[in-house]
Amino acid sequence: MSQTVPLSVPPQPGPWAVELVGIDKRFGPVHANKAVSLRIRAGSIHGLVGENGAGKSTLMSILYGFYQADEGQILVNGAEVRIREPKDAIALGIGMVHQHFMLVEEFTVLENLMLGAEGGALLKDGIRKARAEVERLEKAYRLDVPLDAKVADLNVGIQQRVEILKALYRGAQVLILDEPTAVLSPPEVQDLFRILDALRAQGRTILMITHKLKEIMAITDAVSVLRQGAVVASFHTQDTNEAALAEAMVGRRANPAVRRPGAPAGAPLLTVEDLSIFDERGVERLKRATFRVRAGEIVGVAGVAGNGQSELLEALSGMTPFQRGRVHVNGRDVTPESPMDPAQARRQGIAHVPEDRLRRAVVKPFPAFQNALLGYQDDPAMADGPRLNWKRVAAATARLMEDWDVRPRQPSLRTSLFSGGNQQKLVLGREMERDPNVLLVGQPTRGVDIGAIEFIHRRLLAMRDAGKAILLVSAELEEIMALSDRILVMCDGAITGELAAEDATEGLIGRLMAGITDDMEHGSRADAAGGAA
């Protein structure tokens, strides 16, 4: 592995926008950043990659003043600066789009943009100026957002634009993006890259954290690799490739899990007929979904986020009631008249890994071992009579962390202090260790590093080979295609097609995702092969 020092030869002549020198940061026993040195060329896009918990977010939060480094210096445009709080960073022209958005959901877009940069004690004058300035920025970077819409009503792609606009509105010359593409659909990623390109063309500097090496290759000028808190390599993007980056990240050759056709699938474990969900406004969000998942197969659900996949998962896991149709699972019939709540679903052998882990899968302030039990708190093995035996829970959690490589291995650490990927492994471990018959899993590798992706994929395939039924919802087409035996494509709440793995191509799925179903030949053949009702 090439152990290079941070870029010392400029890729093109031009000054450094940001220089981090010897940044060191500890959180108690965790050494999150170890003497990190990094230089970012002005007017470039610099990628930052590394495993979950490598310290990427911490490093960027230090640059933004959200955390304080224990040691080290920061130079902006060649001059040493002190960044004690975000205010200082903003004044220096540094903006950050956090991994979890920092928006006031109840506010309109305009109010969010103005917060902290109101332009006077009264909002009146500020509003007019802000509107004009934002409209100018929107035009310059084709960043359309509805200024008067409530943020809570916008989808994540648009919310992210609001975050970017927020930074630009504050005059950011250096823009930090923490895993900006994790929550985006492929077309949204294209949009984002177009925006980033435009920003670079205007001379702004961008620092981008991502787990997707393809994106690094596609858009960055330079890239640095963090491992266990230290910079282990820096490259000019043109001089490297995905394999080399992956190797630098995990310290070994990457070895992606690939689906081998399994034994022929067995009896259907999950049968869904005519399932519809209406939201409170009466809009049909899921439209007469009909399919089966059989023992020993993975059925992938592809689609642009917000096209009914979330509703499907929530209905099957018992989290939201459905208004029409029937679900048959492990010998039990679920209908609108006899619904099933999530606890019953678990008892029925259905495990669920929700798409939004922070909201739906863990209680952030709980220590990890409490979250590792959540949903299975009735397990007699974890209790002495009515009293939970926390010692035993903690011991089980320690084993789970070992098995699933959750880092750091501290069952009593607050869950919110684990990095995103490690939280995800904790949740996956909790649900999959219970040996369910049917696994519903949403975005299993969102925000997860490539080493962990391989690991999670292998576990999913092993579970399939053990004769379980898995329904996999993912925004990553690659993931769907790598794992699924059959693929359902959703558009606008309806299943627009069903393909056997052999017939699936990105192009075909893409068309079905857009709702173009003229190509029924493939669809119907897969229907027959898949044995859908």
Partner: protein
């Protein structure tokens, strides 16, 4: 006919008088809670304010000194609340309850120790209180049926603090929705992390909100003891702080709907005073207790059935800990 009209005018006048402390206290709660700090301690701050006002007015003879003392005492408690909940991230409800308990005990003890009147302060004469203001022409139009009386006794004839409370509602609405401070105030109650990353200090913003709460509670307390009343009595707030919170919830943490809630409660209260001991048709005399719980029953019913879901500011009740 004329009797009914008179009865209505007097009911309205008394509604306005009873609503004043509720309006001041619920607006006080508005600032704190919109900033994300739950304040159960409105009651205690009001009570302390009432005592400080009456004691000071009795000693100095000046209602203005009384008002100032009320505000100062209430601000002090607000600072204690802020110190516990903002600086030390303590539990907001527990801190509020503690303030109420301290206030109830301390005011009674001090009143006894200083004045030795069985938990009261000396009764104040006119010059030591805020008295009703005489509006121009009130006497002249008094003869006009209904409207004359209405002008003289409901619109006019109230004391200064009543008008202050009336002005506080549009002022609060203006501050909350038209100023930079208001935007930040509302933001910090919804998502303090967004405020923090926007480069604004969360603690300082919350402290300011809590201090405004203290200020308004002080005025509300002074109103009770040196404007509406003529001296302090043990536990004279009698749950008004909680009622103010109920109005805030009923008003969904918005100034004007909260005002409506306060008026509703005050009207029930005014009615209640007039119904006590009166034998109603069919049911006969209604027990006092039932009439007294009316405002609370009303809150529950209104929340359950008519106003719809009342959602508190998202971050209310939680201390802000830096975290991703």
């Amino acid at each position: 006919m004329d009797d009914t009209a008179l009865w209505i005018v007097s009911l309205l006048a008394s509604t306005v008088r009873l609503a004043t402390p509720l309006v001041l206290a619920s607006l006080a709660g508005f600032y704190s809670e919109r900033a994300g700090v739950v304040d159960i301690g409105l009651e205690g701050k009001m009570l302390t304010g009432a005592f400080a006002a009456a004691a000071t007015a009795a000693v100095t003879g000046s209602p203005w000194a009384g008002l100032a003392a009320a505000i100062a005492a209430s601000l002090l408690l607000a600072l204690v609340h802020g110190f516990a909940c903002i600086t030390h991230r303590g539990d907001q409800v527990v801190a509020g309850v503690a303030i109420n308990t301290i206030a109830a005990g301390l005011t009674a003890v001090l009143a006894n120790a200083w004045f030795d009147l069985g938990g009261r302060t000396p009764s104040l004469d006119g010059g030591q209180r805020f008295l009703g203001l005489h509006f121009p022409l009130a006497e002249a139009v008094r003869g006009v049926p209904l409207l004359g009386r209405f002008y003289g006794e409901v619109i006019g004839g109230q004391n200064l603090l009543v008008y202050l409370a009336v002005l506080a509602v549009p002022a609060t609405s203006w501050v909350a929705y038209r100023t930079r401070f208001g935007l930040r105030l509302r933001a910090v109650g919804e998502n303090p992390a967004a405020v923090d990353t926007a480069g604004i200090s969360v603690p300082w913003l919350r402290y300011r909100a809590v201090l405004i709460t203290g200020l308004l509670c002080g005025v509300a307390g002074a109103y009770l003891s040196i404007a509406q009343g003529a001296g302090f009595q043990e536990n004279m707030t009698a749950g008004k702080g909680y009622l103010a919170l109920a109005a805030l919830i009923l008003g969904k943490w918005r100034p004007y709907p909260t005002l409506a809630g306060c008026l509703l409660f005050a009207a029930t209260d005014a009615l209640q005073a007039r119904l006590q001991g009166v034998a109603l048709p069919v049911v006969g005399a209604v027990p006092v207790q039932i009439i007294e719980v009316l405002p609370y029953i009303l809150t529950v019913l209104l929340l359950a059935g008519f106003v719809g879901k009342s959602i508190p500011p998202k971050a209310a009740g939680q201390a802000y800990v830096k975290d991703r």
